[in-house]
Symmetry: C2
């Protein structure tokens, strides 16, 4: 039984030592006999000790986090200040690595390989974090309460309802799939947002094949059942179509030889091109590849209605309406606002907006101590032109009514930090500093000693706000926002005395924190057949097998835990060796 | 991209070459560019070629196989005669390794690791086999038809119905969970027969924990929700209780530290002991272990009613009735007959029986060319006493009215083969041959030359039938029956001229085949904590860690494919290293 004992010891050490920084804890534990119990008890005790000694009188501030997606989880992972009492509320007790969802639809990766229980993540923290599996149904900003409903098995005596008080609220509930109120979408299509959606799609693909292979059907009926429609030519829709095509050609064609030639995949996109947030070279490559593979690509085609048997589309250019039968539709056209957020927006006077707005510090506008991160909100960027007079006044230290270059340069960093669109504008215009901008507006003969008045200043900055872009609804943005907000929470007291943000142009002093800045690290569009398009910062474009390997390495490295990393990689290997599973499970 | 190409080549070779016997095929394929297509086309062509050359005129006999469980799958795997046209009908398009179902409930093994698509299994065969995912709803024995209904997604225009003709029918539809008509069982308990059941149980366990950890509940309510009840102390119920206990102590206790002490597991068994088909040492060990671990073992306790909140039991000895609240109930008390089989039994005049009866050749009684294998049927063993006159007459070659030992010995093998209970009886009585039996009946002073008359013969055999036991409803029996029946089908023509079975005592000539004989290879009862009880042939009993390793090796080796073998083993390793997943997926 030596082998046994070794394995047990090995596994215990591994489970208790998820990162090298926990060495101390593990050493302390390894002497004990009941290591596991000691661990779970030790964590809260440890953290409360720290708090007790540091601030013995202060009651811990209660932070409520809604959601365990990218934003919520990265917030929790990066929160280090033990002086908070954190309550996490989410209907999903796990974090899901959503970029791999399209891989789950075809069984390239197993659903469980891309999820990590949130309790696993928080129990490793020295912060006091509690999790409750429930959905927030109402946010009461005035009374600082959130109302929740448990979605656990209805068998257990109905839905449990409760409320939680908060001092700070972090909203990261994500978004829902947008149906654009097109009739029949909810009833007849499958979304691809949650892990369960991906599982449903996988089962549905197999169902279609099994159904079409029944002996009693005509080939005409079989063709209908084997018509797979993907609505939405964004990265998710395109990746799903590619995965489906691979699944068919690499695996299902062998198992359903009699019907494999009756399969059709149609990709519908309302605009003129698929992947239109990517470089044109990528779009062209993807469209070319799909056409070559027989995927029916219909751009400029808008879905207007879906019945239980047919999907109706309208050609945008000609207005022509046509219908086609289908076996399965996957709907992937973008995101909409969740009901709980809509209600919340009404409550706080944002009902005229489409999406919940925050400022650049991720604080929900018109709310104290409520933050929103990820897909459920967008940053309402401050326009330079709104504040241009205040900026001018602040910069004009001698109140001369004109700005010298020197005066201007003194506030330059603050302006760029507060209004990131300015930096972007300069970069796009290939200017090196604001001085160039002033030169540009006054003509080429400007000198270092030039002075501008308010009107000239306004005219110089007039085009800057055109560079404002709202951030894409991606995992990358949500994750960075979570990290940013956690760092703010970690240093809340520090910056009270030492504010580190830019100058307040409309007030006194400085902002406490630097505003959130998104750093785009590039984006992938897997196109099937072990080919991926990658668009990296600096418009560096790479398409093909090499990008696929880059994709494998990036996605493996970005996994939330060693467990999911090992599982995802072993899933890939399994697929290479054995192919994908076609059981109707 | 060398690595890529290598991997692709490797995976293609592996997938197309599941066993070394297919070497020829792979060599032929490796030259082609479109290997996959060539493969799927080649198989049917090959097999029809063989048939064409061998029997050019004869229409293939249509064999319909109902079910893809242990019996059906082992029949299909062992069927080699290409002169059949086989149609498989089953609502599950996969074979599931059911002995690992209890492991799936706790996530020790993933559901997909224990299933293999039936199409994967049959496409490797040289026999013409078609599969349809549908449930047989009616067997029409008179007209040799089965009526089927597709259970594929209702979204696809309702349920598809069709019928299939057969020349031979192999029924292997398995059984349903037996509720003994106790009220509330179907509504409020979870079964453990199908892969989906195991998935539901897993989700339900996590649901109970999440629900119990909500902040709004009292400890009293939490205790109710965390009360897990297992009904049935057979191997499945016991293994599930053990798995649940391991899951709680090894994984969930760490993640739910506040409520871990409120958990209770109750195991209810109506008889006096659990595992009562095992050796007493095993029963005692298991009961002792469970008590030590705090599992509440209630034997002699019968469930009489289950409401949505409480389960009511009656003590068999005292008649005392009591109720207790529960969070989850797993019902594992044995098997009952499926509706389609009940209807079929009425049709063929077996309605007075509890279970569908076959003869020792697995042929359904009173039916031509209909066979039943696995849990859906039992073998109605022929009693020696029913045929004793015929046996005597057949053995008495000289019609002297008495049997000499010599005459008797000539038919001895045939009798033992036809009536296996005789062999069992002799073994139990520690006799070496039938002669000893005769000696026994006539007293010790019998000589080799003794003769017995019919009455003495009857009295000698009178106790033999007491040894008849119906076979247990296990995977082992079903699997052996499938193999046996496939071998019969493979040699159907051969034995027409060369019957190999025992003498027909009530007719002329010999039986075509030897009757089915079950070879018990032993049985495991995993008890949790890496301990397993094993009872091997010859009443060899082993309990503890070493048996657990035996269990691992046997279950790994018995997997239906290399794919599932690799997956199951890697699941075990994953569990050792990372523990079990607790996501509510």
């Amino acid at each position: 039984m030596q082998g046994m004992a070794f394995l047990e010891r090995f596994s215990r050490t591994f489970r208790q030592n998820p990162s090298t920084s926990k060495l101390l804890l593990v050493v302390a534990l390894s002497g004990g006999t009941s290591g596991l119990v000691a661990y779970s008890d030790a964590t809260p005790q440890n953290s409360s000790n720290i708090v007790d000694s540091a601030e013995p009188e202060i009651k811990k501030k209660k932070v409520v986090v809604l959601g365990t997606g990218w934003a919520g989880t990265s917030f929790l992972k990066n929160l280090k200040d033990p002086s908070y009492d954190v309550q996490v509320i989410s209907p999903r007790n796990y974090f899901a690595f959503t970029p791999l969802l399209p891989s789950v639809t075809s069984g390239t990766v197993e659903p469980r390989s891309i999820v990590e229980p949130i309790r696993n993540i928080i129990r490793k923290k020295k912060v006091d974090i509690q999790y409750s599996e429930a959905e927030c149904v109402k946010i009461d900003a005035a009374n600082k309460k959130v109302y929740c409903q448990s979605n656990a098995n209805a068998n257990l005596n109905g839905k449990e309802e409760f409320f939680v008080d908060f001092d700070y609220l972090v909203i990261g509930v994500g978004a829902r799939s947008n149906t654009f109120n097109i009739p029949g979408v909810v009833e007849n299509t499958l979304f691809l947002k949650e892990v369960e959606d991906a599982q449903k799609i996988r089962k549905s693909i197999i169902d279609c094949f099994e159904r079409a292979d029944l002996p009693s059907l005509s080939d005409e009926e079989r063709k209908k059942i084997l018509h797979f429609v993907v609505v939405g030519g964004g990265p998710t829709g395109v990746e799903f179509a590619a995965q489906l095509h691979d699944f068919l050609t690499e695996d299902l064609a062998k198992l359903y030889p009699d019907i494999k030639n009756l399969v059709r995949i149609t990709l519908l996109e309302a605009t003129d091109h698929i992947l239109n947030m990517f470089d044109k070279r990528i779009t062209a490559f993807a469209e070319e590849k799909f056409k070559r593979e027989g995927i029916d690509l219909k751009t400029g085609s808008m879905v207007i209605n879906i019945s239980d048997k047919e999907i109706s589309t309208k050609e945008i250019k000609t207005g022509e309406i046509s219908s086609m039968p289908y076996g399965m539709i996957v709907w992937s056209t973008g995101i909409g606002t969740r009901r709980v957020i809509m209600d919340f927006m009404k409550q706080i006077g944002q009902s005229n907006r489409r999406v919940l707005a925050t400022d650049e510090w991720l604080r929900v506008e018109r709310c104290d101590n409520i933050y929103a991160v990820g897909d459920c909100a967008t940053i309402n960027q401050r326009k330079v032109m709104e504040d241009v007079a205040a900026i001018f006044q602040k910069a004009d230290k001698d109140n001369s009514g004109t700005l010298t270059v020197k005066e201007f340069q003194e506030v330059l960093d603050d302006i760029c930090e507060r209004y990131p669109q300015l930096e972007l504008y300069l970069k796009n215009k290939q200017m090196h500093s604001l001085v160039d901008l002033l030169k540009d507006s006054k003509g080429d003969d400007v000198k270092e000693s030039v002075e501008v008045n308010i009107e000239e200043f306004k005219s110089a900055l007039s085009q800057v706000d055109s560079q404002m872009k709202s951030l894409p609804a991606t995992a990358q943005v949500a994750s960075q926002q979570g990290v940013y907000l956690a760092n703010c929470f970690n240093r809340m007291k520090e910056v009270e005395t030492n504010p580190e943000g830019p100058l307040r142009f409309r007030g006194e002093g400085r902002h406490r924190f630097r505003p959130f800045r998104y750093r785009h690290l590039g984006q992938f569009a897997p196109l099937g057949g072990e080919q991926t398009a990658a668009q990296l910062p600096g418009d560096w474009v790479s398409i093909g097998h090499s990008s696929q390997w880059l994709w494998y390495s990036v996605y493996a490295s970005k996994q939330v835990s060693w467990r999911t990393r090992a599982l995802v990689v072993s899933d890939w290997m399994r697929r290479f060796i054995f192919g994908r599973d076609s059981s109707s499970l």
